[in-house]
């Protein structure tokens, strides 16, 4: 990662190094905030992205390698976006009602987006950053694309086969391999990933 900032300069508080780092990290924080908040609170996206960079300024003091910065700031942005969503939905439902954020999101038409009931919602920023780094390493880009097309974009088996150049009979196998790779990463974080507790039996 040749364009990564000079970590020692950042940890000395060098203004120019931070300027470069902010520009380098901006697309990441903005993309995360956009992913989580875009459908519900689009006006908050930029604000959460900037707050995330502010939080990173302090968090960077304990970072060991510059390559850790992007996953770390993505985790910070994710957690801040989730908090912002929780506040938003808590205000909307008012006191005395206990329905989940996910239920509320379903009512607002986007049940698959992350919220308070997401398996990642209460993962600490350091652990989430590690999880993201491991997912990048464990899942090949083509596996990620296949899983995203199926589970996020709703492509059918036929469409997946055509798009990814696979035999239709092997689409399920490729999907399963992708999920298994994902599961291996999840199993390294069992104490935090409540959705994966079932795998530990």
């Amino acid at each position: 990662m040749s364009d990564a900032p000079d970590l020692s300069a950042l940890q000395r508080g060098d203004a120019d190094a931070w300027d470069a780092a902010f520009r380098w990290l901006w697309p990441v924080v903005f993309a995360v905030a956009q992913t989580r908040l875009g459908p519900f609170l689009p006006a908050d996206v930029e604000d959460v992205a900037i707050e995330s960079l502010e939080e990173l300024v302090e968090a960077a003091q304990t970072v060991k390698r510059a390559e850790e910065l992007k996953p770390l700031v993505a985790s910070i942005a994710h957690n801040r976006a989730v908090s912002r969503l929780r506040e938003h939905f808590a205000q909307k439902r008012g006191g005395g009602q206990t329905e989940s954020l996910e239920a509320r999101q379903e009512q607002e038409g986007a049940p698959e987006l992350a919220g308070g009931d997401s398996p990642l919602a209460d993962v600490g920023r350091g652990e989430l950053a590690t999880l993201l780094t491991e997912l990048q390493a464990e899942l090949k880009p083509e596996q990620r694309a296949l899983l995203a097309d199926f589970f996020l974009h709703g492509l059918s088996y036929e469409q997946l086969a055509a798009k990814h150049g696979l035999a239709i009979g092997s689409v399920g196998v490729y999907l399963k391999r992708g999920l298994e790779a994902l599961r291996r990463v999840g199993e390294r974080h069992p104490e935090r990933l409540k959705e994966l507790e079932a795998f530990l039996r």
């Binding site: 300027d19 993309a31 960079l53 300024v57 993201l132 990048q136 995203a148």
Partner: protein, 238 residues
């Protein structure tokens, strides 16, 4: 279960997890689960992993994003945070450095005295070199508002003898920034006040080498201009 059934279960389970199963496929899956209850565990595992995929994959993609530009107004706020976080540590570091050099203080004193003597004597003997300064303001909203008048006055006051330009188009400012006087032998500095970005930028050439320093607008324009002026004063003229 034979391999054929394994493959069929996998396809049915995947589709069910992704909510793509037809009514017939869901019924077929239910029948399989009824005859082989142990498959329920596998289905749940797939469901959990798929849920993690839905949550984590967009984050992994976002971590690799490269498009988009930091808004100009955010820079000042972020640099303030940097100073708040690291400013104290930097000061402590400087104090440590001072202590470390304590034993060399007498030598430094001698050097300082020599430098002071040079500063007093030399200017009276040699013509004083100066950094050639040019000043510009970029206001994308145009130059008709009352607030601009005060800002222009502040800019002119900060560098009284410097030529001043006002631009309402970024492209024209860019042309101005690239236009360096050919005959200038010493250091040339251009001071640009970018209203929309909320910053004062100093760009220049010293011995053919470019230099640049940006001062985010934090408290007031006059304060920022003072910082920029101090910086320019510190640039060697030759």
């Amino acid at each position: 279960m034979n391999p054929m059934n394994d493959d069929r279960f996998l396809d049915l389970a995947m589709k069910a997890v992704a909510q793509q199963a037809t009514a017939e496929e869901q019924a077929e899956l239910d029948a399989l689960l009824a005859s082989r209850p142990e498959l329920q565990t596998e289905l749940e595992q797939l469901r959990s992993a798929a849920r993690l995929a839905k949550e984590a994959l967009p984050l992994v993609s976002a971590t690799e994003a490269t498009a988009g530009e930091l808004p100009g107004y955010a820079r000042g706020r972020l640099q303030t945070k940097v100073r708040e976080t690291y400013g104290a540590a930097q000061t402590a570091e400087k104090e440590e450095s001072k202590e470390a050099f304590g034993s060399w203080r007498w030598l430094l004193g001698l050097a300082t005295a020599t430098a002071v003597l040079a500063l007093i004597v030399l200017p009276s003997v040699l013509p004083k070199p100066r950094v050639s300064v040019q000043v510009a303001m970029l206001d994308l909203a145009g130059t008709t508002r009352g607030a601009d008048t005060n800002e222009v006055a502040l800019l002119r006051q900060a560098w009284q003898d410097a030529p001043f330009e006002s631009f309402s188009q970024a492209a024209k400012l860019e042309d101005w920034e690239k236009d360096w006087p050919q005959e200038a032998k010493g250091t040339v500095a251009k001071i640009i006040y970018d209203r929309s970005a909320g910053e004062v930028r100093v760009v220049g050439r010293h011995r053919g080498q470019p230099f640049q320093k940006t001062f985010p607008l934090e408290n007031s324009l006059s304060e920022t201009l003072r910082l920029a002026a101090d910086y320019v004063k510190g640039i060697p003229a030759k």
